[in-house]
Amino acid sequence: MNAELALISALNGASYGLLLFMLSAGLTLIFSMMGVLNFAHASFYMLGAYCGYQISRWLGFWPGLVLAPLAVGACGAAVERYGLRSLHTRGPVAELLFTFGLSYVIVELVQVVWGRPPVPYRLPPELDGSLFSVYTVEFPRARAFVMLVAGLILGALALLLRYSRIGMIIQAALSHARTVETLGHDVPRIHMLVFGGGAALAGLAGAVGGALTVTEPNMGGAIGAILFVVVVVGGMGSLAGAFLASLAIGELDAFAKVIDRSPADLAAALGVPIDPASSLYGLWSLTLSQTAPVLPFLLLVVVLLVRPRGLLGKREDR
């Protein structure tokens, strides 16, 4: 691990972490507001990528980047208005089951319309090439762009929530919905707005993420699981927690992939080598890079046991 590798890993991890944050910010908002964990959030991510692809075929990438989140946000608002609202009285399990079924349906609908193989959704040629070089490794413009979009949107979100009128109403409705209602605000409409906004964030993440990697029907499944880890580890209901957790998981993923050392190596370095013939050697010789896919879920289980609130969580659930 030299300085060059460390720096590029940090950058790659940060870009992945910021993409995760774009996704988890929406989910956190929805959960804080309505207490429902939106299983279909990763499907909105996928929907955003496909909408971005389709619109980019008609109008170009940049209009797609603007219109796709709006389209997905509209879908999200419709889902809330016509689906979730009627389930609110039936409790969190019913809402969870609904969003679970919805995620299934959205994936299938996407396959009906766009087919099963991946679609060729790419970033435009302006974003090809490198932005700068770290020693000899080039940092692609595409990744820097993703980081820029994520940073801008989230800055805007923070400002909106903190300093705008609608933001203050939303913040108030987060903890005291009834009071806000008695003050004359249409809280169900605010719920619809927040759900739609969260979905739009997911759609934006999809529109950039799908172009950066691969746009195919299973893309939501892979990132969806990590998404829940982020939300739970950061603390259900805390945006700052989600930010920290996303970055942590992004960096963990990036660094773990490049460390080819195992506990057996560590033991050997400490002077207590493990016998290769022993039965548990297979376990001890697992390198960190081999265990990289497992680490986020390990973290999830540990956090849920040790600190169920998460890093910065506020909403405790019994």
Binding site: L96, R116, A225
Partner: protein
């Protein structure tokens, strides 16, 4: 014996008869496969309902236990093949159940510390954890190819030559027997004090604690029982398919059992049985006729969550009750109108979905798709207009009839003054 004494045994008798006659009567490999899959899924959903219906625990990682049962069994099968040990292959599901049980004890210790949504999240995390481990432990999980086995290694059953589980008839009977035994065992469990207390913990955990039971321990015990039966189910799958791979522990399978159990109805004992059969029908039979079966299944599930959370069992019970007390006859006009509207709308939807699939997925095969009895050319605009019309018209008609019916059955409440004036 009076009728009241043997009526409860009727469903058991009928079930046993079905399990014996169906594999014997139908000789096509396809139907026998359907039978085995149904039986396996029934045990799986019943085990899941021990968690969801009986104890109120929503789990997103249930396939882990059935997967461990499957892996234990396939390794045992290969061990029998290598060492020619005198272990009957037909008894392996018991071993698989124990495999699932051990997983339940260990993982359940972690997950049952919390309840509600947090429990659901932990099970999701644990399920993903186990799923992500499969490439790390290739000797147990088999990597990409999974682990294959041969169920004929055990030598003839009871010494009868030819009874070596090679034919699908024999494996159907073994699977059917274990299915019946599991159903009986689960039914028995639900009647024990543990089963009753689990219901209590589901309904009001605080009250149960006040009465002196530790909600956490009850949940853990129920999870252990549930994982035992899930292990049996996984074991039967291993014997039937002779291969176990990452899918057996994956999130997809966990989602499938949730879907199937909920579709059947979590509030009834026979709900999961019904749900399992319906699910296998969708997955195995319907998938032969249309590629869009997963879409139909998902939509069906969402509609059930929205409109009929009691599942199919509740719908059937309500329908039977309405027929019995005659209200179905009284409302027969309305019901048939709603039924027809629904059929029209559904027909339109199915045709539209199949046509869209033909255009996206079967592009090279041409533009004509076969739906029900018709050959439809997707290139013509009229082919699209008609089903869309059916869908919209049917949906609107259904909505209107339903609204009218509701207005008639529950007139809008009048103001207090009007009520006082009557």
């Amino acid at each position: 014996m009076k009728a009241a004494q043997w009526t409860p045994w009727l469903p058991w008798l009928a079930g046993a008869l079905l399990l014996v006659l169906v594999p014997a009567f139908f000789t096509q490999g396809f139907v026998r496969l359907l039978f085995a899959e149904c039986a396996i899924m029934i045990v799986f959903t019943l085990s899941y309902n021990l968690l969801l219906g009986a104890s109120g625990m929503l789990s997103f990682g249930h396939a882990v236990y059935s997967g461990f049962g499957a892996y234990t069994t396939i390794h045992a099968l290969n061990w029998i093949g290598r060492t020619h040990a005198l272990v009957p292959v037909t008894a392996l599901p018991l071993l698989g159940g124990c495999g699932g049980l051990i997983a339940g004890v260990v993982l359940g210790f972690i997950s049952t510390r919390r309840s509600g949504t947090a429990f659901a999240m932990i099970t999701l995390g644990l399920g993903e954890l186990v799923g992500a481990c499969w490439l790390m432990f290739p000797r147990f999980f088999g990597g990409e190819g999974g682990i294959s086995g041969n169920r004929t290694v055990g030598g003839p059953l009871f010494g009868v030559p030819g009874w070596n589980l090679a034919s699908d008839l024999q494996i159907d009977y073994v699977v059917g027997a274990w299915c019946f035994a599991s159903i009986a065992a689960i039914r028995g469990l639900l009647g024990t004090p543990l089963g009753r207390i689990a219901n209590a913990v589901r309904d009001n955990p605080e009250r149960a604690e006040f009465v002196g039971y530790s909600a956490r321990q009850v949940r853990w015990l129920m999870l252990i029982a549930s994982s035992f039966f899930a292990g049996i189910s996984g074991s039967l799958a291993a014997l039937n398919f002779e291969i176990v791979s990452a899918e057996n522990v994956g999130a997809l399978r966990s989602g499938e059992v949730l879907l199937a159990t909920f579709i059947g109805g979590i509030g009834y004992f026979h709900g999961p049985i019904l749900g399992a059969v319906v699910f296998v029908f969708f997955a195995v039979a319907l998938s032969q006729w249309t590629k869009a079966w997963q879409l139909y299944l998902g939509l069906f599930f969402v509609v059930l969550v929205l409109r009929a959370p009691g599942g199919l069992a509740a719908v059937i019970e309500r329908a039977v009750a309405q027929v019995r007390d005659g209200s179905a006859w009284r409302r027969s006009r309305v019901l048939s109108a709603m039924g027809m509207a629904m059929v029209v709308a559904l027909g339109g939807l199915i045709v539209l979905v199949e046509m869209t699939y033909q255009r996206t997925l079967e592009v090279a095969a041409g533009s004509v798709v076969r739906v029900f009895w018709m050959d439809i050319d997707t290139d013509r605009a009229t082919s699209w207009a008609l089903p869309s019309l059916f869908l919209v018209a049917g949906a609107l008609a259904y909505d209107r009839v339903r609204r009218q019916d509701l207005a008639v059955r529950q007139p809008t409440p009048s103001t207090a003054a009007e009520v006082a004036a009557r």
